[in-house]
Amino acid sequence: MDDLNYREEINKAGSIDEIENLRIKYLGRKGLINQLFQQIKNLSQDQKKETGLKINEIKKEIEKLLSVKRLELEKNKKEEFFDPTLPGKSYPKGSLHPLTYVIEEIAGIFQKIGFIRVSYPEVEWEYFSFEALNMPKGHPARDDFETFFIDFPENKKYGKMILSPHTSSGQNREMSRIKPPIRMINIAKTYRPNWDATHTPMFHQFEGLCIDKNINITHLKGTINYFVKQFFGKKRTIRLRPAHFQFTEPSFEVDVSCGICEGKGEIKGKKCRVCKSGWLELAGAGMVHPNVLRMGKVDPSIYTGWAFGFGPERCMMMREEMKIDDIRILYSGDIRFLEQF
């Protein structure tokens, strides 16, 4: 017992590892101290007690010496440098087109209030885009929807083949698919022959259509109000202004309050640069024209309805994050644009 030279060994130890080895050597499960305790059982009762106490003292001393030396070594040890500010491991980062997020968001918002998303032809017959929407041949309202025509033989019943300039052609298609009640949202690519910083020959629209018994203007207002608050935020409000569309009567322009000046039209006495007097034009809407219902074989004396048409691009660019000064970048395929989303 007395030949243990732990004091010297501990004193000599030069590293934490050595201290650990010494701890195992003396205090470990099979260490020297435990071996000494094992030997006690061969001694007499008196010796047992005395020796036991002594071993315990040595054990305590070793523990103390080890911990003092460990602290001393830790203090002196040059700490291994750990930089928690280094970047985390890289994972592949792809992107979705920003309109994908916007369209999924819009579809989700309407799905919650029971509107089903549908899909109808992008290449359409004139009939569905015009005649079925109360715009007979030669009607000047057709001028508002400049149209791409397809080089294809005219159909006797439905007229020329076109690229649909709006999603409203889905109104008649949905009325042919099912009878009221109708709660439809149609989000699709649409086409018009304009190409500049604010127009692309292909763009998107989403059309809402609700036809049922006892549908009135307040339902249109409520639905658009709900959408605006979900999509743009609770603080935003809407207003309806008079407008004219051939396929709705009454017809409205829908404005949303400006998010920058909060609808005041000015910021600290200066005119808001984003909006017109506190409001931004958002969409066209109205109560479905009785002729449109009749064309869809829906009886306007029983049913009424509303419809609206929004531009997802416009909705997107009216959000804070997306200030785009040239809309063509959306369809440019430029990786420096795409990879940001």
Partner: protein
Amino acid sequence: MKIKITYNWLLDFLETDASPFEIQKYLSLAGPSIERVEKIGNDYVFDIEIISNRIDTASTFGIAQEAAAILPFFGKKAKIKFNPLKEYKLSQIIKNKTPRKSGLKIKIKDKNLCSRFTAVILDDVKIAPSPSFIQNRLKAAGIKVINNVVDISNYLMLTLGQPTHVFDFDRIVNSDGKSVTMIMRQSKKGEKIVTLDENELQLPGGDIVIEDGKGRLIDLCGVMGGLNSCITGNSKRIILFVQTYNKQKIRRTTMLTGFRTIASTYFEKGLDEERVEAALVFGIKLLEKYAFAKIDSYVYDIYPSSYQKKLIEVNFNFFEKIMGVKISANQIVQILNALGFETKEEKDKLKVYVPHFRKYDISIPEDLVEEVARIYGYNNLPANFCPPAQIFQPEEFEKTFKIISKIKHCLKHLGLNEVINYSMISKNLIDEWELDVKDHLKIKNAISQEIEYLRTSLLPSLYKNIKDNEGKKETLKFFEIAKVYLPKIDSLPDEKYRLGIAVNTDYFDLKGIIKSLLVDELNISPISLKKNENDFYYKFYKNDRWFSIFSHQNFLGVFGQIKKGSNIFFAEFDLLSIIDCYKLLPKYQPINSYAIIKLDKTFEIGPNLNFENIQNRACKSQYLYKIEFISLFKNRLTLRFYYSANDRNLTEEEAKKELEKV
């Protein structure tokens, strides 16, 4: 259509306590939108967007009428203080006993061309600058100031919404020196006229024109007068000319010639014949006062069918049905009267007589609801949710949108970038890919060669994406989900959703992406590759470096290395086939708690031995659990084989025996 008028101009007709900005605010909510108010000198300029079916509001007086109806409902005083439609009557002029020395010989060859024809000859005109109030108002309206006669003509249009024209009588006078012949007829195809802006127009035929009896065209009616008969600095005897024309005819002319003027914009909307009289009388008054004109002829007024009051009957409860709020009979009547409608109440019904200036835009009860609702105030209507209704989304739509979304998010997380390309491509791109333009739908009126044909595959566009982005980023991995348009005979094309992927990395990168998507994300398993001669795709790909992908017997798509360029890899899938094979969950395999023995083995691969051969052989063992690719060095392929039995611990010896068979 937009017009500009001023606040003071408006006050010629309107008495109100509303400020210019209050007028802007309230009219924008309930009538035409006043987009801007700008202070210029002592006046304010309104920039007004005219609602397309409300041409009756496209003038100072028209706006005054709207303001007089709208402002009182916002608590502002407003009323018409001078109504030119009532005050300016031909009777005032005809009473005048001036000598009638000159005359017109008018022939209208087709009754259908002109619903009201008025004209008067004025003598002793002195061409000079117009008075400053007219000049200032025209300048504010954005109209060029020329001289008193021309300015008055323009001023009439903006004041009353009726375009007018002035001819120089002496430039078209007959040889008798006191008459002008005017033959109104349809133009013949190819006839020519030089308009007063000195443009020569070749007419499409069927346009409304006036001929002077000597074969010369002197007016392209409703669009622009002829250069040969226009006012000059020396004009002395003039014809003031005020008409309403067949709107379809005017529109046809502007459409076919592409030549539009402010006047034609008015005429093609269809003008109110009753306003012609006021415009003519006001015009004579202004010319007398500011151009020293004296009436020198009869006042010609050819007006075969005068306005018959249009009657609409509507039930009172119809207003509530559409507006969704209770509205009293009183309120309805009050609003309609303020807008100039006469009304007669009969029990539950209301008889409404449409004023002449609204005859084109008001024809059904819904039109009356719009009038009442806008003045009542859309802002005063509550916002309600629609009554609940359960409509089921057709399964095909539901599945399509759901799986498109899954695919997009999966590919994003695999590091790909989604792109949206135009549905149309150029002939060049079609040729470049050796496709046949005849297999593509062509746009007749494409505005650019870049977007002339509807694509039948996503790959040419994706190829262009890779090319366009070279140098911007080293590694490019694009995908797109969009429709392609496959022409059919006598019907709309097949619009098929496709998924296209293009990468500039390597073959195995693309193959890995496809496996992750189809097997790991969409649970389409097993998938197999087949070399085949797909008629459509063989033009795209490098021989032997492309394959068709099947799940059982279902063709899903193709992938491989393309022929063109050095290092571009493409895949294109038919989305509906993917959707058909999609599973929400993969098949569950019970967890095997017995030992798994891992063994590595290296093979020399070559024309007679490839991975697939090895795999096929290894799969013959009932104990094979999976194969893992470890490395490929030159042609030395190292694989790790996992063996396990499902009812006991397999020994290493047994596993080795299995592997030896491979």
